[in-house]
């Protein structure tokens, strides 16, 4: 494409006089994207997350060996080599293949927790903030009760009650991670609920339901996305922690936390068994944190003229 064509396209996106709904929306997205991609570290975070997605999608093709069956006779606890890049574990399974497949479970946990916890937090927070009075008091005291327990301990209690397994671990993490989102959403709601533009919508005869859903929630979403992204590293760590304690994913599932747990016994002599999944957790957590920081700079409603 010629430089001219790129220039006209940019002008179209940044137009002060968008001619359609679509153009206005794309223009806004483009401004946010420009601000985001100007931040090198955030871009690196995005690349890591994209790599994670690609790996999870193509694990079946990328993995050289089976993640669950190993050669017990000839390849137990082999050091990293050209054949087994990250070595093998105590059951003779290729660790690289297990990590590649494990990325699916990591994504599964992170996405499910985000899908469950963020909307609950958003709903509780905006309703409490907008309604005020008794509704607010009751909803926020429930939130406080959840916040009063350390996250991992509460998750442990839930998993112990529900039974070990990755689905229950997801549920337990979701149940313990929504309260901070509710707090954020409520705080944002309180800052906008008395503004004239919300009063103006009230004056149009809008129902409280409509006001919360269409006018207040969109204002809370960007700070929530930022917070959820920054929390993803914590979610991965909690999931890994539960796996490590034997309450998350169960063997032979190649979940990274569970892998560290099973490598713990040989951590001094065969460090790669626990080290490789640990490194994978580190990289992905870092990716989410960098992405979250970048999103904060790009989406924060208080910065710039969004």
């Amino acid at each position: 494409m010629s430089a001219d064509a790129i220039q006209t396209r940019r002008d179209w996106l940044l137009s002060e006089r968008p001619a359609s709904r679509m153009q206005a929306r794309l223009g806004r997205a483009y401004v946010a994207w420009r601000r985001f991609s100007a931040n090198r570290l955030a871009f690196l975070g995005l690349l890591i997350i994209i790599a994670l997605l690609v790996v999870a999608a193509t694990a079946g093709v990328l993995a050289p060996y089976s993640p669950t069956f190993g050669d017990l006779k000839g390849s137990r606890l082999l050091a990293p080599s050209a054949e087994h890049w990250f070595g093998t574990d105590d059951l003779g399974r290729d660790i690289l293949s297990r990590i590649l497949y494990g990325s699916r479970w990591t994504l599964y946990v992170v996405i499910l927790v985000a899908i469950i916890a963020a909307p609950i937090g958003l709903l509780v927070g905006t309703v409490a903030g907008y309604a005020g009075g008794w509704t607010d008091a009751i909803l926020m005291r429930i939130t406080d009760i959840f916040l009063a327990f350390p996250k991992l301990i509460l998750a442990l209690a839930f998993v112990a009650a529900l039974g070990p397994g990755i689905e229950n671990a997801v549920l337990a993490i979701a149940i313990t991670s929504w309260p901070p989102y509710a707090r954020i959403a409520r705080a944002e709601t309180l800052t906008v609920r008395n503004s004239d533009y919300i009063k103006a919508v009230q004056l149009m005869g809008a129902s409280p339901f409509r006001i919360v859903l269409r006018h207040i929630m969109p204002l809370c979403i960007s700070s929530l996305i930022i917070r959820v992204t920054l929390d993803m590293a914590g979610i991965i760590l909690t999931a890994a922690g539960l796996g490590f304690l034997g309450l998350g994913a169960q063997p032979p599932l190649p979940e990274w936390g569970t892998m560290i747990a099973s490598g713990r016994r040989f951590v001094l002599d065969q460090w790669w068994v626990a080290g490789a999944p640990g490194f994978a957790i580190l990289i992905v957590s870092l990716g989410f944190n960098l992405l979250g920081d970048g999103l904060r700079d790009a989406l924060d409603p208080r910065s710039g003229d969004q």
Partner: protein, 248 residues
């Protein structure tokens, strides 16, 4: 003829603070009525109480012959709309003008939204070029025009104006005031307008009420004000203050 707005001994209390202490008021249909007074005199509160945005403790409000309860019906909002003081705060920061104008139409179930939005924008002198802008892409005067378009799009018969031009600079002020005057004449609207600027009130309104600390001081006509036929000291002081500094 029934009054467009009849307020009878209205009291408004915010957390034990009496913002309005039994204020009565009658505005005839098609009239432009002004409320003046210093800051904190309760003129904006009176406007907000009529709109249903302030807690009414006593008294009654009647609009077009219908007495209003604490909860406003949907039909009320098609009769009465309001333009806020601060054009920077009264438009949603994440919505385009288009979305902003569509919202009242969606709430009240108008089918011909497209046409109405076009017409509303034309009426306030904003062409189609402004339709998909966000509020931060507009100047103060343009924002206030959008706010007026939003108020007019439901075709109300009464417009409450809360210092609609005080946040704008002088030249833009005149434009917006002329726009309001033109709209009023064309649509035969009733205006209830708050301002601390006596010049604007005498220009825009036929009659006015002077308020002080939540009470009515006196009712005047615009001519009274121009010819200084005032009876209360407070009003005299207001007039003197609005003349501004006089070089000694």
């Amino acid at each position: 003829m029934t009054a467009a707005i009849a307020v009878d001994r209205l009291g408004v209390i915010f957390d034990r603070f009496h913002a309005l202490k039994g204020v009565s008021l009658d505005v005839q249909p098609g009239e432009s009525f002004g409320l003046v007074g210093e800051s904190g005199s309760g003129k904006s509160t009176l406007l907000r109480a009529i709109a249903g945005l302030a807690p009414v403790a006593s008294g009654s409000i009647t609009v077009n012959g219908k007495k209003l309860g604490t909860r406003r019906e949907k039909a009320f909002y098609r009769e009465v709309q309001m333009v806020f003081q601060d054009p920077y705060g009264s438009l949603h920061p994440r919505q385009t003008v288009d979305r902003l104008l569509q919202e009242p139409l969606a709430i009240h179930g108008f089918a011909d939204g497209e046409k109405r939005i076009q017409r509303a924008l034309d009426e306030v002198g904003l062409g189609n070029g402004f339709r998909f802008r966000y509020s931060h892409q507009l100047s103060g005067g343009q924002r206030q025009r959008v706010a007026i378009a939003r108020a007019l799009i439901l075709e109300p018969s009464i417009l409450l104006l809360d210092e609609p031009t005080s946040a704008l600079d002088a030249s833009v002020q005149a434009e917006v005031l002329n726009l309001l005057e033109e709209v009023r004449r064309r649509r035969k609207l009733t205006f209830l307008m708050v301002s601390h600027d006596l010049a604007i009130i005498t220009h825009m309104c036929g009659r006015l009420m002077v308020m002080q600390s939540g009470e009515a001081v006196e009712n005047l006509s615009a001519d009274d004000l121009v010819e200084r036929r005032v009876t209360k000291d407070y009003t005299r002081n207001l007039l003197r203050a609005s003349d501004g500094f006089v070089r000694a």
